[in-house]
């Protein structure tokens, strides 16, 4: 009973701390709440699902392979930048200059390939509002 009460107090503390406008959790309070909670063996498939994000995943819309293929074949139009979540008008400077006279287009391909090869992926280029996404 004491353990249950302590766990409830700790849960309240977690909620209070987590409501504050900061971006770090109170790990000590969370660990204490878990430590003081009653272990149950209730099996719930929801616990074992792979979803860590709390929202339904509805498909792979943004894809590194698609991004690099768009860059490769249509990069001079800037369509790959729009696909990768940049501002909607990003295609205009690309199209007007032929992908920065081919230079920006080529560097986009090179940096994307580097991202794929070194394993860092293209994540850093998504949602990027800069005309030169790799700067």
């Amino acid at each position: 009973m004491k353990k249950f009460f302590l766990a409830l107090v700790a849960m309240f503390a977690i909620t209070a701390v987590a409501s504050a406008a900061n971006y770090t959790a109170d790990d000590a309070a969370i660990d204490a709440a878990i430590e003081n909670a009653i272990d149950v063996n209730a099996f719930d498939l929801g616990n074992t699902a792979t979803a860590p994000l709390g929202a339904a995943y509805v498909g792979l819309g943004n894809n590194d392979v698609v991004s690099i293929l768009l860059t490769w074949f249509l990069g001079w139009t800037g369509i790959h930048r729009v696909y990768m979540g940049s501002t909607w008008w990003m295609w205009i400077p690309y199209l007007l200059t032929g992908g920065g006279f081919g230079i920006v287009w080529t560097l986009d391909i090179i940096f994307e390939l580097i991202g794929l090869i070194d394993g860092s992926g293209l994540g850093k280029y998504y949602d990027n509002p800069n005309i030169l996404m790799w700067l």
């Binding site: 249950f4 009460f5 766990a7 409830l8 849960m11 977690i14 909620t15 987590a18 409501s19 971006y23 770090t24 959790a25 969370i30 660990d31 878990i34 003081n36 909670a37 009653i38 272990d39 149950v40 063996n41 209730a42 099996f43 719930d44 498939l45 616990n47 074992t48 699902a49 792979t50 979803a51 860590p52 994000l53 709390g54 929202a55 339904a56 995943y57 509805v58 498909g59 792979l60 819309g61 943004n62 894809n63 590194d64 392979v65 690099i68 490769w72 979540g85 390939l113 991202g115 794929l116 090869i117 070194d118 394993g119 992926g121 293209l122 994540g123 850093k124 998504y126 949602d127 509002p129």
Partner: protein, 241 residues
């Protein structure tokens, strides 16, 4: 003409090599998930084996021993070795794109797969402490309309799902990043989900350990045995000894 053709062939070969290397990336990790609600805690332990092409094998060790295989399309199989039974289902909630290890392996740490979920970026700004805050929205009805994603040094540290009134539905903290030779990954993830009706919350703490980018473990290529019997209820199959 021949020189131009040769350049094209070399470029195409480089592209194929890069795409192939990306698809073959592999990582595995031990995972302990503790879920806390109403003063009670449940524990799930497993090891995940993730590939760059989205194939995800998860070997659960407690509370029951079983193995799941899934991919980006949510083509999910659950195999119970003790009874040699298999449960199959196609469900996006089981898709490997939901697995944090896959998101980092695939380089989606920058948006945590939100773009793939149908969210669009509405704005971003830096605060005084150097945190980059991005706001995503969606019009889909089955998910939170607004998500706030906060990054520090281009790594996600905080995600909040908000309702139409701006109230937090759930929030997630990602911390204790490990920087291996090929994978940067948070070893501690805490998710807090608020239950407005019960005036309560659920806390899920996930600890990742023994993270490896060695792709030689045979579990990466695990296949459900051809002779496995179809299971009606996976939980019943797991309880069989």
């Amino acid at each position: 003409m021949a020189v131009v053709l040769r350049k094209d062939l070399i470029s195409a070969a480089l592209l194929l090599i890069a795409l192939g290397a990306f698809a073959q990336r592999r990582a595995s990790a031990d995972v302990e998930v503790k879920s806390l609600a109403d003063g009670k805690v449940t524990t799930v332990t497993k090891r995940v084996f993730c590939q760059g092409n989205g194939r995800l094998v998860t070997v659960f060790s407690s509370p029951y021993e079983y193995t799941t295989v899934t991919n980006l399309k949510g083509e999910f199989k659950l195999y119970v070795p003790s009874s040699n039974e298999v449960f199959s289902r196609v469900d996006q909630s089981f898709a490997s794109g939901n697995e944090l290890l896959y998101l980092f392996l695939a380089g989606r740490q920058d948006n945590l797969g939100l773009l793939g979920m149908g969210y669009t970026l509405q704005g971003s700004s830096y605060d005084e402490e150097g945190y980059l805050k991005r706001t995503y929205t969606t019009k889909k009805k089955d998910t939170a309309p607004t998500v706030e994603l906060v990054l520090k040094d281009y790594l996600p540290v905080y995600v909040a799902y908000l309702d139409h009134s701006g109230n937090v539905l759930s929030k997630m903290y990602l911390s204790q990043y490990t920087k291996g030779s090929r994978l940067v990954f948070p070893t501690r993830v805490t998710e807090i989900t608020y239950n407005k009706e019960k005036h309560d919350s659920t806390v899920v703490r996930t600890i990742y350990s023994s993270i490896s980018t060695e792709g030689t473990d045979p579990h990466f290529d695990f296949q459900v045995p051809a002779g496995a019997k179809p299971a009606g209820n996976p939980l019943d199959a797991m309880k069989k000894k």
